[in-house]
């Protein structure tokens, strides 16, 4: 299909032709086109359907404020719903489809809603669909949900990459129109670090859409020259295709650069978009203004457009939207459209000017005091009905109508800190108020300065003020026409619908109904009618809506006020906000020193925070995880097992007050711990709840090594720094984490010592290295290492640590040299089994809700000294004798199954909360005992040892008779670990 509506000129590259399809039909366009301009050039006006009434719609704008021309761009995993055709840059091979219609854009069955519109008045759904009760969910809502929504989402993963970054500058300029370019030039020429961002792919703003001259040359040429000069400056960064989405605290701005959206696919390794966080002390908002329409009956037909857009399509994109064009305006800027179109040879059949008097345009039929009261043309404008000053009505055949109701400064970003804009009667629009984000100045049309000269001047002056400069570049010559406007918000006539929010189908009638029902606050208006809640955020409609509400309530427009402007300025792809943190890269991995060995063995890994730990290490022939875990446990208890415990937090605590410091952060005492010994420590939060536990060793007079749980390594360190800096700053204590510096292995089992003796250079006999001993040693002929004789498994056990780089080698060495003991490497599952067999508390018990008393460790909380949590642990609610106590649980029938999370019920008791006795915190299968065992918190559990109860899992129907026993299932006297 030929580009029937293309006219000479414009800023498109006619030397290249792009092919693209819309709803399957092939069209052509040129570099420099948007999808909308290219479709219009091909004579296509119908591009979408509205949300509620499914009215046929074409674009009303040439920019990001577009409410109507939304399409599904691209296909497959790249399918992109709700894309504005007016900003989608054309590329060769582009495919787009219309959306929210069935079966086709021209014949949409859902358009029945339009005929039934009387029943779909604002908020009708709040008043019905209530009977019968069940019908809402079963019938009405499913139908509504299917009908609602705009574009559809792919189920495939987005194949494109997104990136993020940080930029720093002295001045950020938002918007590269005349004001922004002048501001950037002013700052750039004196060598300041400037970032100039513009959402368009061609900088220049309205200058590209106008025929005004700047400095004696066409505005677009002036803009191009300035861009050339700026791009040569090393201190200036030009970001086109970049939308500043929000002003955040302390001079941080978010911006999204669409790096590859104008390409069929991004180059290999390159992102589709980049989210920039821009740090700057000064910024200038020069984001221009957005034209608003006038509400009149059937003002939403394809072919009816903002006058400035009609002009932009002709001037920038060399497109005449129609063969016979009319303009309806309440201000002088609308007249400019008529003049420009005529100059480009477009037939302007009438200018309908709502204002009385004033000078007449020459060479065109200029109707003063006239209004457009209705239009015709189902799928596209065919005619308008005009009421003239004398009341006479006339129908004029046109296929395009430009409407100008005045221009609204784009105050959004200036209002992102919730400062309200103020009303400027001179231009009949809101302008930025006195209080915006600190450091943000406003220039040009965004400040309500609508002439080219005023834009250039304010842009320069804003840069001078922002950077405290005294002089800047001379201003080029430019028009300085005054704004002449007589506000007209809507045409009062007849019973038909006049649209305000075109996408959400909010009409003047809806505003009147809201008033009638006393939804008169502007927030109520928005929420009740959905005015301004569409994808265009009401950029064209909001002010009209609240102006009409002001009219109805007799309040002034400023009294009525605006709703709150919130980021983002235009909608942002989720991918850009997420950047690279997706899929497997959602969070970084932490690998243990034995990871590579374990991978060789085909180990199964488990996520523990960001760590990947070995869960178990299957041997050939083992088909079920229990086989591996049971083997690892039995082999450890029979001979010796090795487990990588590097993930436990390690903190070096040094200083002359290190011992006293530990006394205050631990509930129990450490200052009395002899050098060369370690001790189990219990750490409370200030509220008396158990925070963390672990063993801490005294390596020297003023040197301790603390271990924390894997989960709390970071928070414990943070807490210690708080205590050190904020609570007891006089203490001589130095802290540093050594978690990753040491590869640490637990070596447990009757043959643990024998195995270690194969690698340790020193004497570690029971006499030389007794239970709870700790010290610096060497291994394998002189490698520095640390040894702690501690046991989590209840076996004779040690933890041995070497510098991380030697961890892998130490493990292989122990396995090789200790081969005669048939050592096994066990994972977190076996570790869990053995600690439950011993009744040691861990994750399930350290739940942040439990006290030392609950855990049966009440005696560890020393009252002889001040320590974090000591006082508040004594509150009545935490010392209830009938409160939870840690117990062991075993099924009465050895084949009985237990589940962690099951609750305790007395035999015969109903499964109701009143009978809830507590719950199972951890459950394992004990190969040693040959049945399930569990730990649990049971009310008054210490007095229920030996009793029989039920462990019930209502989620699966599991109901097991259990005996309450001591949590120490295995070697309660602890003879083995002292062996």
């Amino acid at each position: 299909m030929s580009q029937s509506h293309r006219i000479p000129g414009g800023q498109i590259d006619r030397t290249k032709t792009f092919r693209f399809t819309f709803d399957g039909l092939p069209y052509t366009g040129h570099p420099g086109d948007t999808l909308a301009s290219a479709l219009l050039a091909n004579g296509v006006r119908l591009m979408g359907r509205s949300f509620k009434y499914h009215r046929p719609r074409g674009p009303i704008s040439a920019g990001s404020e577009e409410p109507n021309a939304l399409v599904e761009l691209r296909s497959g995993g790249r399918q992109e719903p709700n894309t504005r055709a007016t900003v989608a840059e054309l590329f060769d091979g582009l495919t787009a489809n219309s959306q929210n219609r069935w079966p086709s854009l021209r014949f949409d069955a859902m358009a029945i809603n339009d005929r039934l519109n009387a029943f779909f008045a604002a908020g009708f759904y709040y008043k019905t669909f209530m009977w019968p009760k069940s019908f809402w969910e079963k019938l009405y809502e499913p139908i509504i949900r299917r009908a609602a929504g705009l574009g559809s989402v792919t189920r495939e993963e987005d194949p494109d990459a997104y990136d993020k970054g940080f930029l720093h500058c002295e001045l950020l300029v938002i918007g590269a129109g005349p004001a922004g370019l002048m501001a950037a030039l002013t700052a750039g020429r004196v060598g300041r670090r400037v970032i100039l961002a513009d959402e368009d792919f061609r900088m220049g703003g309205r200058l590209n859409a106008e025929t005004v001259a700047v400095g004696g040359v066409p505005g677009a040429d002036w803009a191009a020259a300035v861009v050339t000069e700026l791009s040569a400056m090393p201190n200036v960064r030009l970001l086109s295709r970049t939308t500043v989405i929000g002003a955040f605290d302390h001079g941080i701005y978010g911006a999204v650069e669409r790096v590859s959206d104008h390409l069929p696919v991004p180059p290999a390794g390159k992102p589709r978009q980049i989210l920039w966080r821009i740090y700057t002390r000064r910024a200038i908002l020069s984001g221009g203004a957005t034209e608003r329409p006038i509400a009149f009956e059937n003002n939403d037909r394809p072919g009816i457009m903002l006058a400035g857009a009609l002009r932009a399509y002709a001037n920038r994109w060399a497109v005449k939207v129609g063969e016979r064009v009319a303009v309806f305006t309440n201000n002088d800027d609308g007249l400019r459209t008529a003049t420009d179109l005529q100059a480009r040879g477009v037939d302007v059949v009438a200018v309908i000017d709502s204002r009385e008097g004033g000078e007449m345009l020459s060479g065109v039929r200029h109707l003063r005091g006239a209004q457009v009261i209705d239009t015709a043309g189902r799928l596209g404008l065919k005619a308008i009905t005009v009421r003239q000053a004398n009341g006479a009505t006339e129908t004029i055949a046109v296929d395009a109508l430009g409407v100008s109701g005045g221009w609204n400064p784009n105050v959004n970003i200036h209002s992102h800190h919730r400062s309200r804009p103020v009303w400027d009667a001179g231009i009949a629009a809101f302008i930025p108020g006195p209080e915006g984000p600190p450091g943000l100045l406003v220039a040009g049309a965004a400040a309500g300065l609508l002439s080219t000269h005023a834009a250039l001047r304010s842009g320069r002056d804003a840069a001078l003020a922002a950077l405290e400069l005294t002089s800047g570049p001379d201003l080029p010559e430019a028009e300085d026409a005054p704004v002449r406007i007589t506000p007209l918000w809507h045409v009062s006539h007849g019973k038909g619908r006049a649209w305000i929010d075109q996408q959400n189908d909010v009409t003047v009638k809806d505003v009147k109904l809201a008033k009638q029902e006393n939804f008169t606050s502007v927030e109520h208006l928005k929420r009740y009618t959905t005015l301004g809640m569409a994808t265009d955020q009401g950029k064209t409609g909001n002010v009209i809506g609240l102006a009409i509400m002001a009219e109805l309530t007799g309040r002034s427009i400023p009294e009525t006020g605006t709703t709150i402007y919130r980021p983002p300025y235009t909608p942002v792809a989720m991918g850009a906000l997420a950047g690279r943190s997706r899929g497997k890269e959602f969070k970084p991995y932490r690998l243990t020193p034995s990871h590579h060995w374990a991978r060789e063995q085909g180990a199964v890994f488990v996520e523990v925070g960001n760590w990947l730990r070995t869960q178990w290490v299957p041997k050939p022939g083992e088909t079920e995880w229990r086989q591996s875990v049971d083997r690892e446990v039995l082999a450890t208890r029979r001979s010796v097992g090795i487990c990588d415990v590097t993930t436990l937090g390690k903190i070096d605590i040094q200083g002359t007050d290190a011992g006293a410091f530990l006394d205050r952060v631990y509930a129990n005492t450490f200052s009395t711990l002899p050098v060369g010994k370690c001790r189990y420590g219990l750490m409370l939060r200030e509220d008396g709840i158990v925070f963390d536990d672990g063993t801490t060793a005294r390596m020297g007079e003023h040197e301790y090594v603390m271990t924390t749980t894997t989960a709390n390594a970071v928070t414990v360190f943070r807490h210690l720094e708080f205590c050190r800096q904020c609570l007891w700053p006089e203490m001589d204590v130095q802290l540093i984490s050594t978690t990753e510096a040491w590869a640490q292995f637990s070596v447990a089992g009757p043959n643990a010592r024998k195995l270690l003796e194969k690698v340790v250079d020193q004497d570690i006999s029971d006499a030389a290295f007794p239970y709870m001993g700790a010290g610096n040693i060497t291994v394998c002929g002189g490698l520095r290492a640390r040894l702690f004789r501690i046991s989590f498994s209840g076996e004779l056990a040690y933890e041995i640590a070497v510098p991380t780089r030697y961890g892998d080698a130490l493990l292989r060495e122990m396995l090789a040299r200790g081969a005669e003991f048939d050592p096994v490497v066990y994972g977190t599952e076996a570790l869990g089994v053995m600690r439950v067999e011993k009744g040691h508390v861990a994750g399930g018990e350290l739940n942040g809700q439990s006290t030392a008393l609950n855990m049966g460790l009440g005696k560890m909380v020393s009252r002889k000294k001040d320590s974090i949590g000591m006082v508040l642990s004594q509150r009545e609610g935490l010392t209830d004798p009938d409160g939870y106590r840690l117990v062991g649980v075993k099924p009465v029938d050895p084949n009985g199954k237990l589940t962690a999370g099951s609750h305790f019920l007395e035999k015969g008791a109903a499964a109701v909360a009143a009978n809830d006795g507590g719950w199972l915190t951890s459950k394992v299968y004990s190969p040693h005992l040959g049945h399930d065992i569990a730990l649990g918190y049971l009310k008054a559990g210490d007095r229920k040892i030996g009793q029989r109860m039920r462990a019930v899992n209502l989620l699966t129907g599991q109901d097991t008779e259990v005996e309450i026993v001591s949590p120490h299932f295995f070697d309660p006297e602890g003879e083995r670990l002292r062996g």
Binding site: A161, D163, K164, G165, F166, L167, H168, R193, G269, K270, P271, I274, R277, Y279, R580, S581, E585, P588, Y589, R590, L591, T592, P593, H595, H596, W611, T646, D652, Q654, G655, T656, D657, H702, E703, E730, M731, D732, Q734, I736, S737, T738, E740, A741, A743, T778, V779, C780, G781, G782, L783, V802, P803, T804, R805, Y806, G807, D808, A809, L810, E813
Partner: protein
């Protein structure tokens, strides 16, 4: 001395060297590192000067032979030395500072990458919020790269050293490669 063979943070025997476009990423396994923290009321400068251990001011790195150092926290520094001669760097430093400082070996807590390119600014702006183009040579700071806390030392516009958590060496290297591919 010891018969054990070291493994790099990336799980290899040899240090890794990667080139992406104009960027080279070289893993360094020949750097010994220890923290030096002043005990309360002790001025470390005399001992530091005597032993030739540079202890620069906040956010600064100072190189020397055999010791280089950078500031990490109030009254605390990280000190580098060649691994070959100073594998026992903590012992060396304890000898130098005695009871005036708390010394902790940090060599294996970190993976070390040296990055080089004609201009590293385009890469760094994709990785962290340090104004790499704006800071001077010798700037040393902690920063976050892809959720990982790292130390960054700028040697020049085209050279920097990165200390990252050793256990996440692979994730960090992947992040560096991906960003280099995207930015350079």
């Amino acid at each position: 001395m010891a018969s054990l063979q070291a493994m790099t943070a990336l799980g290899a025997r040899e240090a890794a060297m990667v080139t992406v476009g104009s960027v080279t990423i070289a893993e360094r396994v020949d750097v010994a590192l220890a923290s030096v923290a002043a005990r309360r009321g002790h001025d470390l400068q005399p001992a530091a000067n005597a032993a030739g251990v540079p202890l620069p001011g906040p956010a600064r790195y100072q190189s020397g032979t055999p010791y280089s150092g950078f500031w990490v926290a109030p009254d605390m520094w990280f000190v580098e030395a060649p691994f070959a001669t100073h594998e026992l760097i903590a012992d060396h430093l304890k000898a130098a500072f005695g009871a005036a400082a708390s010394i902790t070996e940090q060599t294996d807590a970190w993976v070390v990458f040296d990055l080089a390119a004609p201009d590293l600014a385009p890469l760094m702006e994709r990785l962290c919020n340090v104004d790499f183009a704006g800071v001077s040579d010798g700037h040393a700071t902690r920063t976050v790269i892809e959720h990982l806390g790292c130390y960054l030392v700028r040697q020049s516009r085209g050279n920097l050293r990165l200390y990252g958590p050793r256990s996440s060496a692979q994730s960090l290297l992947h992040a560096l490669e991906a960003a280099a591919l995207s930015a350079c």
